[in-house]
């Protein structure tokens, strides 16, 4: 599924957070969006997912929805957004409840997601009994249960510690190795962008405009290898150079406000 954003602007009252965003997300592409706090990254994602209404401009999706897809555009949230009163498997079941599925298929969708995320033995546990990493895995299993065509990830690893973040990045890589799900990945972490994305979109400080779109030439599977490091370091420097200036200015503007 492709995503086409054209001349998108969003204002909260007098505050312009996104200004004239033009962006195309190709089928199967993973685009990371980075930028300083308050630049409208999450708003862009909300608009793409239809939970924030844009002030002006258009956002459209094109392309075929794969078989068995129940919710083409699916979120994975920073705070996991799990129902604390439901067990792991019931949290996954929630998003299937309003779909007419046979009980066998319902079961299969829940169980396969739980097994893939290594949650099978925790399926009867409540969220409070799980670590942050496990909770986000429930969020991923829930997203997989609807067989999404496009994933919108809103800083999915920001609430986790460094080791857990590494482990979950591997999970994401595995996921995208198996399924060519298009993804918009919002983060403020350069390492995540460099590990996971095909392209990186750098947003300016508020009002968010596209500063630059950087393509990472190295294929995802090879980025851990020594031969890839020179290219990645170069991209990293470029991204950090772009981000640093914006972040510094954003900081000053926030201090003045």
């Amino acid at each position: 599924m492709r995503l086409l954003v054209s001349d998108l602007t969003h204002r909260y009252d007098d505050l312009t957070v996104l200004d004239g965003i033009d962006l195309t997300l190709a089928e199967g592409e993973i685009l990371a969006v980075i930028g300083p706090s308050g630049c409208g990254k999450s708003t862009l994602l909300g608009i793409a997912g239809g939970i924030v209404a844009p002030t002006s401009g258009s956002i459209r999706v094109e392309g075929e929805v794969p078989d068995g897809c129940l919710n083409p555009i699916t979120f994975i949230f920073q705070d996991f957004a799990l129902l604390p009163w439901r067990t792991v498997e019931d949290n996954v079941a929630l998003v299937l409840e309003h779909h007419p599925l046979s009980s066998a298929e319902r079961r299969e969708r829940i169980d396969s997601g739980l097994r893939r995320m290594g949650l099978w033995e925790f399926r009867k546990a409540l969220p409070k009994q799980l670590s942050g990493g496990m909770r986000q895995r429930v969020g991923i299993a829930r997203a997989l249960a609807v067989r999404p065509a496009m994933l919108l990830l809103d800083e999915p690893l920001s609430a986790l510690d460094a080791q857990t973040r590494e482990l979950l990045m591997d999970d994401f890589l595995e996921l995208w190795r198996r399924e060519k799900t298009t993804a918009l990945y919002v983060t403020h972490n350069l390492d995540e962008a460099l590990r996971l994305a095909d392209r990186v979109c750098v947003l300016s400080r508020r009002p968010g405009r596209i500063r630059e779109l950087v393509t990472i030439e190295e294929p995802r599977e090879r980025r851990q290898e020594p031969s890839a490091q020179a290219h990645l370091a170069e991209v990293r420097d470029r991204l950090w150079h772009l981000m640093k200036a914006e972040a510094q200015m954003a900081d000053r503007e926030i201090a003045r406000a």
């Binding site: 919710n71 009163w85 929630l94």
Partner: protein
């Protein structure tokens, strides 16, 4: 430093370094399971002793033994059950009516902004009225019998339930609702699967408040006009100067309040085990 007065100790300290002194680990609450029980026992013993020694007049402050005797008399002659049944029935009907109505209105106010715009000023206006003041009016409307008591209790329970319910709905995390919307859950499912369970802790906390309001109001209403009921029983005992029976009635009320609180705690533990 006292160590400096002792040269050998000072020398030892300088070569071995100073041991790090434990400075406390923050305030921790220690459990003293027997303290409460002991305090009760001491209080009752003092009270009994004061009475036996003639320090307090048994007419104005009967000893615990006399209260216990009066209570056992209530059990054997059936007056305990007769009066308790009357009070419990009034609490049950009044509380259920007030709670059902209050939750209905509270949900409407929590979900629909129009209902809230209309409801909040009305609730704020009616909530502070001491509901027992309306009993005479309810007696005129519904007669001296049960309905006026149900109405007083129901009315007293209604407003706190409204407030507890709509603030509980406000406290349901918005990110969960957005999540459900992003997965295309219909409005009804969001209400049933997210808003209702998410609001449950606040609603149950409201039950605790309304249960004690119901207890207060039932006693007050029974004192104004009732043949049976713990309130009427206590008033009657007072009129007859039977202070031991009076205190036995008060003891029953205290135990009743305790029992209701325990039931609610069990309910919370059962329903909110996910917290």
């Amino acid at each position: 430093m006292p160590d400096s007065l002792n040269p050998t100790a000072a020398a030892a300290a300088s070569t071995m370094g100073q041991p790090v002194r434990f400075r406390g680990g923050g305030f921790t609450v220690k459990r003293h399971p027997w303290a409460a029980l002991a305090a009760f026992a001491v209080l009752i013993a003092l009270w009994e002793g004061a009475s036996r020694l003639g320090l307090a007049s048994p007419l104005f402050l009967p000893p615990p033994s006399a209260v216990a005797h009066a209570l056992s008399g209530m059990v054997t002659d059936g007056s305990l059950w007769l009066n308790l049944k009357a009070s419990l029935g009034r609490i049950a009907v009044g509380w259920v009516l007030g709670t059902a109505g209050g939750m209905l209105v509270g949900f409407a106010m929590g979900i629909f902004s129009t209902a809230r715009a209309v409801g909040v000023p009305l609730v704020s206006a009616f909530f502070p009225i001491p509901k027992i003041a309306l009993l005479p009016l309810f007696i005129l409307w519904f007669g001296i019998g049960e309905p006026s008591k149900f109405a007083t209790i129901g009315f007293g329970v209604f407003f706190p339930t409204v407030i507890a319910t709509y603030s509980a709905i406000d406290s349901v995390p918005r990110n969960l609702i957005r999540m459900a919307q992003s997965f295309g859950l219909p409005w009804r499912s969001i209400l049933r699967s997210i808003v209702l369970p998410g609001a449950l802790p606040g609603i149950l906390a409201g039950f605790r408040i309304t249960a004690s309001i119901a207890l207060i109001l039932v006693v007050a209403a029974e004192m104004i006009g009732a043949e049976y009921g713990i309130g009427a029983f206590v008033l009657m005992a007072g009129n007859l100067m039977q202070t031991d029976t009076l205190l036995a009635g008060v003891l029953v009320l205290s135990l009743l309040g305790l029992a209701i609180g325990t039931v609610l705690s069990q309910l919370e533990r059962r329903l909110l085990n996910w917290r």
